[in-house]
């Protein structure tokens, strides 16, 4: 597997086949881990960073084998390739843009990625389509347990798994569920949802756009507390909360369609028309219009567009993906033209 191969496929989470995928785009579970015999990244010299990477890479290959993951040292990747990994949600933005020796191990189906030398020595991640908290946790827990036979984690009987930032200490577990909430946004119910979640100690942030005006109606809900609760507690709590948000969104989608059918239909068809015929389109506009199209598919207004196509358009229209497809570096203005063309072709083929 090479980075170029990623362009030929879409990861498991993009198949749109997981449970509740009409509202939940993906479930991600992350474990932060550090090695006991090295300083944290904040105090690691370039030599030590190199040593950590070489050590972890060796142990990853021993513990998991080449069949389960493949390691990519960032020193050998172009900036576009690193950005591509970020666009596919396989590494964090910080990891993609950071300096110094670092890398990532990825499973062939893209459900597993293990960042090495991010804020912590290891950041294990499992990413799956729809709401799959149990499966995702079992998968990551198994990998963590397998790895643990081959290296010694920094662990403290009182504080649990030790992390560079005290906000991650304990379980090192961060669950993030990505939700599509167009009806909650259109009906201005979103503030209520976000406020409730914040009171329950969850972090909610828009996936795209600045602060209070997220675009594309995509939101990420994550747990904040990592210490004092077991992994099971954290998962169970989210498993109780997320279905309520899903139900809320579904109810408002139908209410919207019942109360203002013309308005909803118009918005959906406009989005479809725009995406189908535009000659120049930005990332932001694409994300925004895709959101309405997705809503239209759910409500049966435009039944002919499959979810997988929507997900593909969502991922492959990002800057690095477009450049990889074209096989060359493109300026933003040229990308907007290539993006419009890509979307037109995909939608025309239906």
């Amino acid at each position: 597997m090479t980075i170029d191969d990623l362009i030929q496929q879409s990861g498991e989470w993009l198949k749109g086949t997981g449970p509740d995928s009409d509202v939940v785009i993906s479930s991600r579970i992350r474990l932060a881990r550090n090695l006991s015999r090295f300083p944290f990244m904040t105090m690691a010299t370039p030599e030590v960073r190199g040593e950590i990477q070489a050590f972890v890479r060796r142990r990853l290959e021993e513990a998991l084998g080449a069949r389960r993951v493949q390691y990519f040292p960032f020193a050998k990747l172009s900036p576009i390739d690193r950005q591509l990994l970020f666009e596919r949600h396989l590494v964090s933005r910080e990891h993609a843009n950071g300096e110094g020796e670092r890398g990532v191990a990825i499973s062939p189906d893209e459900t597993v990625s293990i960042m090495v030398n991010e804020e912590d020595h290891l950041r294990l991640q499992v990413l799956r389509s729809g709401l799959q908290l149990e499966q995702s946790y079992q998968q990551i827990d198994q990998i963590d347990t397998d790895l643990e036979q081959h290296l010694t984690y920094a662990y403290h009987s009182r504080f649990g798994y030790l992390t560079c930032c005290p906000t991650n200490v304990g379980t090192g577990l961060r669950i993030s569920v990505m939700l599509h909430l167009p009806a909650a946004v259109l009906t201005k119910q979103i503030e209520k949802v976000l406020g409730t979640l914040a009171r329950l100690n969850y972090t909610v942030r828009g996936l795209y756009g600045e602060g209070t005006s997220p675009i594309g109606d995509l939101f990420q809900i994550s747990n904040q507390v990592t210490l004092g609760k077991s992994e099971r507690d954290i998962i169970t709590e989210l498993k109780n909360v997320i279905p309520k948000v899903i139900e809320f969104e579904r109810v408002w989608r139908h209410k919207l369609a019942d109360d203002e059918p013309r308005k909803v239909e118009d918005r959906v068809w406009r989005a479809y028309g725009l995406l189908k015929h535009a000659r120049v389109i930005s990332s932001e506009e694409t994300i925004e219009q895709l959101s309405y199209l997705r809503l239209g598919v759910y409500l049966g207004i435009i039944p002919q567009v499959p979810m997988t196509i929507l997900n593909d358009l969502f991922i492959f229209t990002q800057p690095s993906h477009l450049q990889k497809i074209q096989g060359k570096v493109l300026e933003a203005v040229d990308r907007d033209v290539v993006r419009a063309e890509f979307i037109r072709k995909r939608l025309a083929a239906l």
């Binding site: 200490v169 379980t171 100690n201 210490l227 004092g228 609760k229």
Partner: protein, 167 residues
């Protein structure tokens, strides 16, 4: 009150923002407030740095008495500034300062989750014990006495096992 940004003008705009359950205040003059464009977003580092106060330790602050970490060499002040630790050993060295911080951020200072298999089984049992006792507290509150009895049995068994190992 003087503006927290330019430290020159009188602060007339007072902003309170709650991020992740942590209150953060800013006092700015009108000019600086306008320059900020009505947006007051504090980074997690800001918030944490604000929370990490030098707690009193026998009349002197931890900052004054705490040595640098002998392993990685960072001082408590450096930790305070960056809100990031330098090595695993810092959790012991800066424990006094960390405990109130963890309590504020997580509402707890005791791990109740997974334990590496490499860690001795004793520690695993102790962690399990803490969790069972906490579970017991909550089922007692909900008056689920059947579950409480079951938990009590498991606690007793674990305690006996743990005591056996002791000299």
């Amino acid at each position: 009150m003087i503006c927290g940004k330019c430290s020159k003008n009188h602060a007339t705009v007072h902003v309170t923002e709650v991020v992740n359950g942590v209150k953060k205040e800013a006092h700015l003059c009108e000019e600086c407030a306008r320059a900020a464009g009505g947006k007051f977003t504090f980074s997690i580092t800001d918030i944490l740095a604000n929370l990490i106060e030098p707690p009193k330790a026998g009349g002197k602050t931890v900052e004054a008495t705490a040595p640098r970490c002998p392993e990685c060499g960072i001082s408590y002040t450096q930790f305070k500034e960056k809100a990031r630790l330098g090595c695993p050993n810092d959790y012991e060295v800066f424990k006094a300062g960390l405990l109130p911080l963890l309590e504020k951020v997580h509402g707890s200072t005791q791990h109740a989750g997974k334990t590496p298999h490499t860690v001795e089984s004793v520690i695993r049992k102790e962690t399990e014990l803490v969790r069972l006792k906490r579970d017991l507290d909550s089922v007692v509150k909900t008056e689920d006495f059947e579950k409480a009895a079951e938990l009590r049995d498991r606690i007793r068994t674990l305690e006996t096992e743990l005591n056996k190992g002791k000299p």
